[in-house]
């Protein structure tokens, strides 16, 4: 209803970060002469930032509960990766190692969540102690040295090495080789068709129930998302196909999108962050909500450990330092509120991509790595300042 008549100002306010992302992409496209849009670089953007998406998804739930963050994830990523690598190094079955990494991550998250949820230890402190402790444990497990992974299946499946792409089954069946990757194209197109089908179904249901929501706006977003997906598919198909890490990213983002929008626990996360007392008086066991959030980010740290170990083909006690900050920054740039209760998976994705694009663009241009950190910091500050200011105007 009123979305139809959305003013230009409101439009910019709602889609600030997407507009910023487009501007930044164009900016670097001009600066690098289009290099940042080459298929290889698009592919790298995804592969390099796999861990950011996974960790930021978990982090978003923590932030939703009231601006709480998890400082330990970098160390936990390193620790789970260390355990997994050592296991595989000792010829333990790869799947057992993978399960062990996920289980350890979940266990650590549950453990830290216990202190936060049940004993009211401030999340900042509980996870700061985890940050120290698990960095230390990583060192102990690795004996201070790097341990590498040689298991081909593991590397291929989790996005490391030269062959970490979804193989082109269609061309294999046809007995040909070459580009573009037909399987990639097929999957991309089918996925987009399914997406469009679901959206249309949703709009039809809304119409039947007489729910007033702007249909043109919904169609427009559907069209834009589909177009971006097709564009991405074309780029990747003309490179080596879908990187396997994209499967895991997609899986995680899909699940978290579902949790935050469709489930009761997702609703509780927003409610606790918005007004914990009111939520408790509504019969929700609020402390368990915190516990859930921290257990979930632990599991994500386990998965990120797997992805990191695969991408680096091993692990070193100093790896994954500062990963927590990338995840936190993605959420805040993506519009999550530092006070909790507000934030979306879609926003977080935009935030993570924006950070990734800026990083990569600066790398291609050849900006000094120290200066890159300065830029990252400024981007985070600007994003949050803008958010605060735009909210102040509303009042």
């Amino acid at each position: 209803m009123n979305e139809n008549k959305m003013s230009v100002g409101a439009f910019f306010q709602k889609y600030t970060m997407i507009i910023a992302l487009v501007v930044v992409v164009i900016f670097f496209a001009i600066l690098t002469g289009g290099k940042n849009l080459l298929p290889g670089n698009i592919n790298n953007l995804i592969s390099q930032n796999g861990y950011v998406f996974v960790l930021a998804a978990g982090m978003l739930l923590c932030i939703l509960t009231g601006g709480n963050i998890d400082l330990s994830v970098g160390s936990v990523v390193c620790f789970t990766a260390a355990v997994g690598c050592v296991l595989m190094d000792n010829n333990v079955n790869m799947w057992i190692a993978v399960l062990a990494m996920l289980a350890i991550g979940l266990l650590i998250g549950t453990f830290q969540g216990f202190w936060i949820a049940k004993l009211h230890v401030p999340a900042f402190i509980a996870t700061l102690s985890g940050m120290y402790a698990f960095r230390g444990f990583s060192n102990v497990v690795l004996g201070g040295y790097q341990v590498s992974v040689t298991n081909e299946t593991f590397l291929n499946l989790f996005g490391g090495g030269a062959k970490c792409y979804v193989p082109d089954f269609i061309r294999q069946a046809m007995g040909t080789t070459g580009k573009p990757n037909l399987t990639c194209l097929a999957i991309g197109i089918v996925a987009v068709l399914i997406f469009i089908g679901l959206k249309v179904r949703k709009i039809l249901i809304q119409k039947k129930l007489n729910i007033h929501q702007s249909i043109p706006a919904q169609l427009a977003t559907t069209a834009i998302i589909s177009a971006v997906a097709i564009w991405l598919t074309l780029k990747l198909a003309s490179h080596k196909g879908f990187p396997t890490v994209l499967i895991w990213i997609g899986l995680v983002l899909g699940i978290y999108q579902y949790i935050t929008t469709k489930t009761a626990i997702g609703r509780h996360l927003y409610a606790v962050g918005g007004n914990e007392k009111a939520t408790a008086l509504s019969g929700v066991k609020t402390r368990n909500v915190y516990w859930f959030a921290y257990a979930s980010i632990g599991l994500m740290a386990g998965l990120a450990g797997i992805l990191t170990a695969a991408r680096a083909k091993g692990i070193d006690p100093t790896y994954a330092e500062g990963y927590e900050m990338d995840a936190i920054a993605s959420c805040f740039i993506g519009g999550a509120s530092a006070y909790g209760g507000v934030g979306k998976v879609s926003g977080m994705i935009v935030g993570a991509v924006l950070m990734g694009v800026i990083n990569q663009g600066m790398n291609i241009v050849g900006v000094d790595s120290n200066f890159q950190k300065v830029v990252k910091g400024l981007v985070l500050l600007l994003a949050v300042v803008f958010d605060v200011l735009s909210k102040r105007q509303k009042r």
Partner: protein, 514 residues
């Protein structure tokens, strides 16, 4: 006639959705103690906040004339510079700091970058003696009692060279003895020429200390009573001003309601304060509510009404709760936490809708379903379409004014927020509804609509407990009234027998009794 020190002319202050002050005129003479009385939400504190610059110049209409000059206060410091100092109802002291540090907080002695602690403590001691405290100013605030903390607040105000001292409910947390000492201290200051404004609910104290009493009602000053005669003004006279308004058509008639069997019964219910377990907040209360009945609980702020309701609602307030509860004649033990209370079909609609009622950053839809998500979800997965339909249904039923149920609750007016809160609890399908100040801070029109909803609930056979500190509302809406004071039920009457005067008299008697 003495010189007029302060004159507030035609002050109007609007909050989103509510006119808190409507063309208020208020005069204070130099050297007098002037009392402001009125019900909760009448606008006393708002008026004082306008005066002290908490609501800065420009956010209200009208003029403040102080000492013959028109003033524009942009912040508290501006008014304090002229000697207008306000002492708020809630003590604003930092418990971990010393008395001296607290007294000069934001007003530090010496240089900004080098606080002169010797001056700080010696001056602090001087002012402490003036208010009759013998403590050293190096004592930590947490180590002295509430009564003395109140005196420290006054010493702090004196240290700011107060000329016009405003005390907002200074005795609300004090016992009889400390209260009397404080009032005598005020009379002492008056002799030295200080001007004071006191806001208080305790009319006996007002009658004792004040020279003039101004009554505020519904955001307007009604009258100013002179109390300088040989006989102090009677409390009944003040009450008449506070509550005496036309009662025609302010409350909808309830028709065709048959009051059924007793549904909720509470016996010998005692609740202790969660932080000070030796304090009884609710003391041996027994009550019952029938199906289709609206039972009013009247009491002033701090009487223990909210605490009683919340302790019934799954022990969400208090410790060491004792007593028996029966629902439909069967004894029940409700586990701690709101979830079990909701399972027993009890709902508690809070008095503090922003603080612990609604999630302001979420939509009407989300708030409506929050207490009863099970009904619109299967296996923890929410059916969004069903949820929307439910929110729409209640929006229509309660006539909530909003463009859509996707609207954020934070953007609604107070009355519409209250409707969303009611919708949330009606959707939880309770049999017993505990409504705590259901019309606080909303305007007259919205109040009427809320009253209609309450009547509909009773007509549907729910038992409704309505807690209120507005006497006319209690009288107009209830079938039966319990009167509560200082944690105890001091009376029970049928609405037909109750009058404002006899209810107030009950409270005053019980207050004097101990």
């Amino acid at each position: 006639m003495a010189k007029i020190l302060l004159e507030m002319k035609n002050i109007t202050k609007t909050f989103p959705g509510v006119k808190a002050l409507d063309n208020v005129n208020f005069q204070v003479e130099e050297g007098e103690i002037h009392a402001l009385v009125g019900e909760n939400g009448a606008g006393k504190s708002t008026l004082m906040n306008v005066l002290s610059g908490i609501y800065p110049y420009g956010t209200y209409e009208g003029d403040i004339v102080y000492d013959g000059k028109v003033c524009q206060f942009h912040k508290i410091k501006d008014s304090e510079k002229l000697g207008i100092v306000i002492i708020h109802q809630e003590l604003a002291l930092v418990p971990e700091m010393t008395i001296g540090e607290n007294m000069y907080l934001g007003n530090e002695r010496g240089h900004k970058f080098a606080i002169d602690w010797n001056t700080t403590y010696s001056e602090a001691d001087k002012y402490l003696r003036m208010v009759g405290l013998s403590e050293s100013s190096k004592t930590q605030v947490k180590d002295i009692g509430t009564g003395k903390q109140q005196l420290v607040e006054i010493a702090k105000a004196l240290a700011k060279q107060a000329r016009l001292l405003i005390l907002d409910e200074p005795t609300s947390s004090l016992n009889e003895e400390d209260s009397r000492a404080l009032l005598d201290l005020m009379l002492g200051f008056k002799k030295q020429g200080m001007t004071m404004i006191i806001i208080s609910h305790k009319l006996n104290e007002v009658a004792y200390v004040a020279d003039k009493i101004t009554v505020v009602r519904d955001g307007s000053t009604i009258e100013t009573i002179d109390n300088r005669g040989p006989e102090p003004v009677s409390e009944e006279r003040i009450i008449k001003g506070m509550v005496g308004r036309e009662m025609t058509n302010r409350f909808p008639k309830r028709e065709g309601v048959t009051v059924g069997d007793i549904q909720l019964e509470v016996e010998n219910w005692t609740v202790h304060h969660p932080l000070y377990p030796e304090r009884k907040v609710v003391d041996n209360v027994s009550m019952y509510v029938r199906k289709g009945e609206v039972v009013g609980i009247y009491g002033l702020m701090g009487a223990g009404r909210t605490e009683l309701a919340m302790s019934i609602f799954g022990q969400t307030y208090g410790t060491n709760i004792s007593g028996e509860m029966k629902i439909d004649g069967k004894p029940v033990k409700i586990k701690k936490g709101a979830a079990d209370a909701i399972k027993h079909k009890i709902a508690y609609v809070t008095e503090d809708r922003k603080g612990n009622g609604l999630v302001l950053s979420q939509s009407i839809k989300v708030n409506t379903s929050l207490a009863h998500l099970d009904a619109i979800s299967s296996h923890m997965v929410i059916d969004g379409d069903k949820e929307y339909a439910v929110a729409e249904e209640y929006r229509e039923k309660l006539k909530t004014k909003t463009p859509s149920v996707e609207q954020l609750v934070g953007n609604l007016s107070g009355g519409n927020q209250q409707k969303v809160l009611l919708a949330k609890w009606m959707f939880a399908e309770p049999d017993i509804m505990l409504l705590d100040e259901p019309t606080r801070g909303i305007d007259v029109g919205a109040k009427y609509e809320i009253y209609c909803i309450i009547n509909d609930l009773a007509a549907a056979g729910k038992c409704v407990v309505m807690i209120s500190s507005e006497l006319p509302e209690v009288l107009g809406m209830s079938d039966r009234i319990y009167i509560m004071n200082e944690g105890k039920f001091v009376g029970e009457m049928k609405a037909s027998e109750a009058t404002q005067e006899n209810i107030m008299a009950l409270i005053l008697q019980s207050g004097r009794g101990d």
